[in-house]
Amino acid sequence: MLKPVTLVTPVTASAPGDDVAPVLKAEVKALDFYYGSFHALKGVNMPVYDRKVTSLIGPSGCGKSTLLRCFNRMHDLYPGNRYAGGGIVLQPDNTNLLSDDVDPIEVRMRISMVFQKPNPFPKTIFENVAYSLRVRGMRNKSELEDRVQSALKGAALWNEVKDRLGELGANLSGGQQQRLCIARALASDPELILFDEPTSALDPIATASIEELVMELKERVSILIVTHNMQQAARISDYAGYMYMGELIEFGVTDQIFIKPQKKATEDYITGRFG
């Protein structure tokens, strides 16, 4: 069904510190996407590697968030959005996430998301994290408690909230709220977590703690992160893609992208001559 596509920029080097070649977790293939009549993604090809952090950078409006939201079919919520060709193939089962036959809910159960602005539900801290387990039909109280606790620990929030699990999530500080949302995404053991500019609404200290957390999380889960902050991309990601006007201009190992970009457009953006 999908035509085999060659990557725009073949990945030649593996990430630093890796002895083994990276394993493919998902692959965007010749993806076209429309908002109504606006052609938002144009033939994007990009790999996402297992248990690595992949970042998407580019000026605002370039389509990086649009691409991210394709991964868990967020676009399906709004009328007028259209996947117009190509797809995203998730491994190991070789499923095209964007196929009409694939249930978006199934996709979202496998691929979780953390948003730009922290959006805790108007529920207690405990219930916020337990939510993603409850929608999976988990009822057993002690199991819920265990999973919530480990998710909160995974999100480096447990020590701060363990005595106030019954409080409303909205009572936490901005950075804590965002970690709560990460715990919520973690609780259900997803295969891939999408981060949509997760620190753009946070202060520098909270940002640092989220970045640290993201780097810890890649031990367990693949991560795709959109960021407007190039230093952040350079600090935390193993692979990076530069997008412009709906196209993926360049993709490669982060160090290579930032130190020795192949394309002039990427270099201009990285060095601040544009954007």
Binding site: L77, R108, S112, N119, F121, P122, V135, S188
Partner: protein, 308 residues
């Protein structure tokens, strides 16, 4: 040390007393219009309390509260408001059993499930439903619903609180659904996205995320529905019969506070008579009830104010 700066204003631009005066006068007029609302409230309280005061000169409060008969126009007059209250509460309960579940379901459906087109058609339609005069609903209850109900329950009398209450429920649906839906649509999309991103279905998102976030608005909608039910008059006057009847059985006829007022007003009671005063005492009771509901509503709104 203060520095005094020179001030020179050309006569053309100086503050004109006349212009200022005109502005003030207009503002005063507009304020007067706005203040009419306060005067209305004061006047309502004044009229109700004044006539009720006269009423309670003749009838002890304990009789009013605890007597189990309501026969103010008989020679052997009794003034037990609980007779009318029972009719009001029973018919309102029937109405709310219909209006609250259906109104809530419609609100969830329109806000979270329905397509744009369905919503665009259904909302104005519901609005029209809420705009139908209540006397027409009364006619509907008496001439259409009661005969149908009598097929199902052969013992049902020609006038019943049940029939009136059911139609009242249908009348109230739009009030409950439209306010609840507004509250749910005001819940920011980011909360829904958060829920969907966790793999939740529409129903899970609606019930576990959107509804809790909209609790205060939904509570307001319910309170409005209750106030409507308690204050509704014509449906009951037409279809529930007007015999005072201390009962909580909806299949019996009964009078409510409101239908009693209509009944008395239809007759020709002299101004200042005790019968005339009873309708104000009844009206005051009604006002106090709606006041209590509004206070509960305000308290609920405060308790569950939107936290998103």
């Amino acid at each position: 040390m203060t520095i005094s700066l020179p001030v020179t204003v050309s006569p053309r631009l100086s503050k004109k007393a006349s212009r200022h005066l005109k502005e003030r006068f207009i503002e005063f007029l507009l304020f007067g219009a706005a203040a009419i609302s306060v005067f209305t409230t004061v006047a309502i309280v004044y009229v109700l309390v004044k006539e009720s005061w006269n009423f309670f000169q003749h009838v002890p409060l304990s009789d009013f509260l605890f007597d189990t008969q309501w026969t103010p126009l008989f020679d052997d007059a009794h003034y037990g408001i609980m007779v009318l209250l029972s009719g009001t509460l029973t018919s309102s309960a029937v109405a709310l059993v219909i209006a609250i579940p259906l109104g809530t379901i419609i609100a969830i459906y329109l806000s979270e499930f329905a397509s744009f087109r369905v919503r665009e058609i259904a909302k104005p339609f519901l609005e029209l439903l809420g705009g139908v005069p209540t006397i027409v609903y009364g006619y509907f209850a008496l001439t259409l619903l009661t005969p149908v109900l009598q097929i199902l329950f052969p013992d049902l009398p020609g006038f019943s609180l049940l029939s009136a209450g059911l139609v009242m429920g249908i009348m109230i649906i739009p009030y409950v659904s439209s306010l609840s839906e507004d509250a749910m649509r005001a819940v920011p999309m980011s909360l829904r996205e958060g829920s969907y991103a966790m793999g939740a279905t529409r129903f899970q998102t609606a019930v576990k995320v959107v509804m809790p976030a909209a609790t205060s608005g939904i509570a307001s909608a319910y309170i409005l529905g209750i106030s409507r039910a308690v204050g509704e008059t014509m449906i009951l006057a037409v279809a529930a019969g007007m015999q005072p009847n201390l009962t909580f059985n909806p299949t019996e006829p009964g009078a409510t506070i409101t239908s009693y007022i209509v009944q008395v007003a239809l007759g020709d009671l002299p101004h200042g008579s005790i019968g005339y005063q009873t309708i104000f005492a009844a009206g005051l009771t009604l006002m106090l009830m709606t006041l209590v509901f509004n206070l509960i509503g305000a308290w609920l709104r405060k308790k569950y104010r939107e936290v998103y």
